[in-house]
C-alpha cells in the first residue's frame, strides 16, 4: 500500500487509521483503514480513476477532498454518486467505478 511509513514531524499514530478492514473495488479485494474516506483507501491501493463522465467518458478521480467537487463520485453498496472523499470506509463495502450518472435504486418508501 502507498502509505507514509515514517514522518519527521507527525507520529504515525496521528494518522487517522482505524482497524484494517477488507472491501472490494470493482470486484477486487482490497484492504483499507476503517473510518478513513473510501477515496483515501483507494488511493493507498494505487487506484486513481474513480468514475467516468457521462458524455465524454473522461476519467475522474480524487480532487478536492472536501465533498464539494463531485470528481470522486462512485457507486458504493449499489448507491451511486457517493462522495467517496467524505464517506468513511466500512468493512465489506462494495465500491465500484461509476460510469455516467449512475442508476437510482428503486426501493419502497418506508415510513421513518
Amino acid at each position: 500500500m502507498e502509505l507514509i511509513a515514517e514522518h519527521p514531524v507527525l507520529d504515525l499514530s496521528y494518522f487517522k487509521r482505524g482497524e484494517k478492514v477488507e472491501f472490494t473495488f470493482d470486484g477486487a479485494s482490497m484492504e483499507g483503514f476503517e473510518g478513513a474516506p473510501i477515496a483515501a483507501a483507494l488511493h493507498a491501493n494505487g487506484v486513481r480513476v474513480y468514475r467516468e463522465t457521462p458524455n465524454m467518458r473522461r476519467p475522474r478521480g480524487f480532487f478536492c477532498a472536501i465533498g464539494k467537487c463531485s470528481s470522486c463520485f462512485m457507486v458504493v453498496d449499489g448507491v451511486p454518486n457517493v462522495r467517496t472523499c467524505v464517506t468513511p470506509l466500512e468493512a465489506g463495502m462494495k465500491v465500484e467505478t461509476q460510469h455516467g450518472r449512475g442508476h437510482a435504486r428503486i426501493a419502497p418508501i418506508l415510513p421513518e
Binding site: R48, P59, C85
Partner: protein, 369 residues
C-alpha cells in the same frame, strides 16, 4: 428527518469556527458546530509547520498542535458545545429561521438556531489547461488531506502550480512525506507567499520558476507528466516550453471564500478582489447585514489561520452578547488590536485594503436584544 435546536449554530469546525464556538460557549451559550469533514480542525489538522504571529496566535506552534489546543478548549466546554461531523448545511429558510443539514449521504435534519456564525472557510480554485480533469491533478488541500491526515502517499513526483503560501508550504510538506517536488511554477514575477517559506524549499533544491505556468497535463487515464511554459510580462506563453516528469500536479492557485449560506440568508455581499471573492459586509463585531448572522475566517476573505482564529473569537463573543449572555465585551478591543497587528505588514496590506471596502459601522449599536 430530525429536529435540533440551539442558541448558536456554528457552520464549519476549522480555525475560525472552533474559536467562535469556544468563545460563545464560554459566555454560556449553547453551541452546535456542524462540520462537513469527518473530523473537526479544518485546515489546521494538516499543517506540520510552525505558525507565525505572536504568542497570542500560538506562534512557533505547529498547525496540527494548534488544532489540538482548540479541540481541548471545545472539550472543556462540555455540553456547552455539541458537534456534528460529516454533516453539511445545505440551506437556510429565512421564513422560519431554519437550517437544513445533510448528514452523511442520505440523512437530513433541521436545525433551529437563534444565531448563526458562518465559518465555512474556502474552496480551491482551478485554472484551465488541457487535461486538467485527469486523475492526478489535485487541489493542494486534497494532497495535504491524503498525506497529513490519512498518511497516504499522494504520488511519486509532484509539480506544484502556484507559489503562494499554500504552494510553498505544501511543497515542503511533500518533501517531509518523502515525495519529490519536481518544481514550483508561478505566473507572477515573484513568489506570493512568505519569502522564508520559499527559501526553505529552495535550499533543499526545489526550483521555483517565476513567470512560468502549466501548459498541459500529459497522460491517458492518469497524469503521466506535464508541459510547463515560460510567460512574458503580459502572461502570454513565450514558446519556451519543457516537459516535467511527474505523476501529481498540485494546484495551489488560490482560494475562494465559501459563502453560499450567507447569500441564502440575504447578507449583503460584495465582490472584493483583495479578499479573493464575494464576501459579506460586516461591522466590527463580524456581524453581517442579517442581524442573526455573523461570519469569520476565510469565508469573510482569504487570510491566514491566525487571523481566522481571532475573527472567530470576535464573532463568538458578539453573537453570545447579542443573546444577552454575560460576554466580556471589553475583549473586543483587545481582539482588534491583535488583528491590526497581524495585518500591519506588507503581506497584510492587501487584506487591509480589502476589508475597508466591506466594513460598515452601525450594526453594532443594535446588537443587544
Amino acid at each position: 428527518m430530525t429536529d435540533i435546536s440551539t442558541d448558536i449554530l456554528v457552520v464549519g469546525g476549522g480555525a475560525a469556527g472552533l474559536s467562535a464556538a469556544s468563545e460563545a460557549a464560554s459566555c454560556g451559550a449553547r453551541v452546535l458546530v456542524v462540520e462537513s469533514d469527518l473530523q473537526l480542525g479544518g485546515q489546521l489538522v494538516k499543517q506540520t509547520h510552525k505558525f507565525f504571529g505572536s504568542k497570542d496566535e500560538y506562534a512557533g506552534t505547529r498547525g496540527y498542535k494548534i488544532a489540538g489546543i482548540l479541540l481541548d478548549e471545545i472539550e472543556e466546554c462540555g455540553r456547552g458545545v455539541e458537534v456534528l461531523t460529516n454533516a453539511t448545511v445545505t440551506g437556510y429558510y429565512a421564513e422560519d429561521k431554519t437550517f437544513t443539514v445533510m448528514r452523511g449521504e442520505d440523512s437530513y435534519s433541521r436545525i433551529k438556531a437563534r444565531r448563526a456564525i458562518i465559518a465555512t472557510g474556502a474552496s480551491e480554485r482551478l485554472i484551465p489547461f488541457p487535461n486538467n480533469d485527469l486523475p492526478g491533478v489535485y487541489g493542494a488541500g486534497a494532497v495535504q488531506t491524503l498525506m497529513n491526515v490519512y498518511g497516504v502517499t499522494p504520488g511519486r513526483r509532484v509539480l506544484m502550480v502556484g507559489a503562494g503560501n499554500i504552494g510553498l508550504i505544501v511543497s515542503y510538506q511533500l518533501m517531509q512525506a518523502g515525495v519529490e517536488v519536481a518544481a514550483v511554477v508561478e505566473a507572477m514575477p515573484r513568489i506570493g507567499g512568505y519569502w522564508v517559506h520559499a527559501a526553505k524549499i529552495r535550499r533543499l533544491g526545489v526550483p521555483i520558476l517565476l513567470k512560468h505556468s502549466i501548459k498541459e497535463a500529459l497522460g491517458g487515464r492518469v497524469v503521466e507528466g506535464a508541459v510547463i511554459t515560460e510567460l512574458d510580462d503580459k502572461f502570454n506563453p513565450t514558446g519556451q516550453e519543457r516537459s516535467v516528469d511527474c505523476d501529481v500536479i498540485c494546484l495551489a492557485v488560490g482560494l475562494s471564500p465559501t459563502t453560499e449560506i450567507l447569500s441564502h440568508a440575504g447578507c449583503k455581499m460584495r465582490y472584493v478582489p483583495e479578499l479573493c471573492g464575494s464576501v459579506a459586509e460586516r461591522d466590527r463585531t463580524m456581524r453581517t447585514s442579517n442581524p442573526d448572522f455573523w461570519s469569520a475566517g476565510d469565508a469573510m476573505g482569504i487570510e491566514e489561520a491566525s487571523a481566522a482564529m481571532v475573527e472567530g473569537r470576535i464573532a463568538g463573543l458578539c453573537a453570545a452578547n447579542s443573546l444577552g449572555l454575560p460576554a466580556k465585551m471589553e475583549k473586543l478591543d483587545e481582539y482588534w488590536a491583535r488583528l491590526d497587528h497581524l495585518r500591519a505588514g506588507e503581506v497584510g496590506e492587501k487584506i487591509r485594503s480589502g476589508i475597508v471596502k466591506v466594513s460598515r459601522g452601525g450594526w453594532e449599536a443594535c446588537c443587544n436584544e
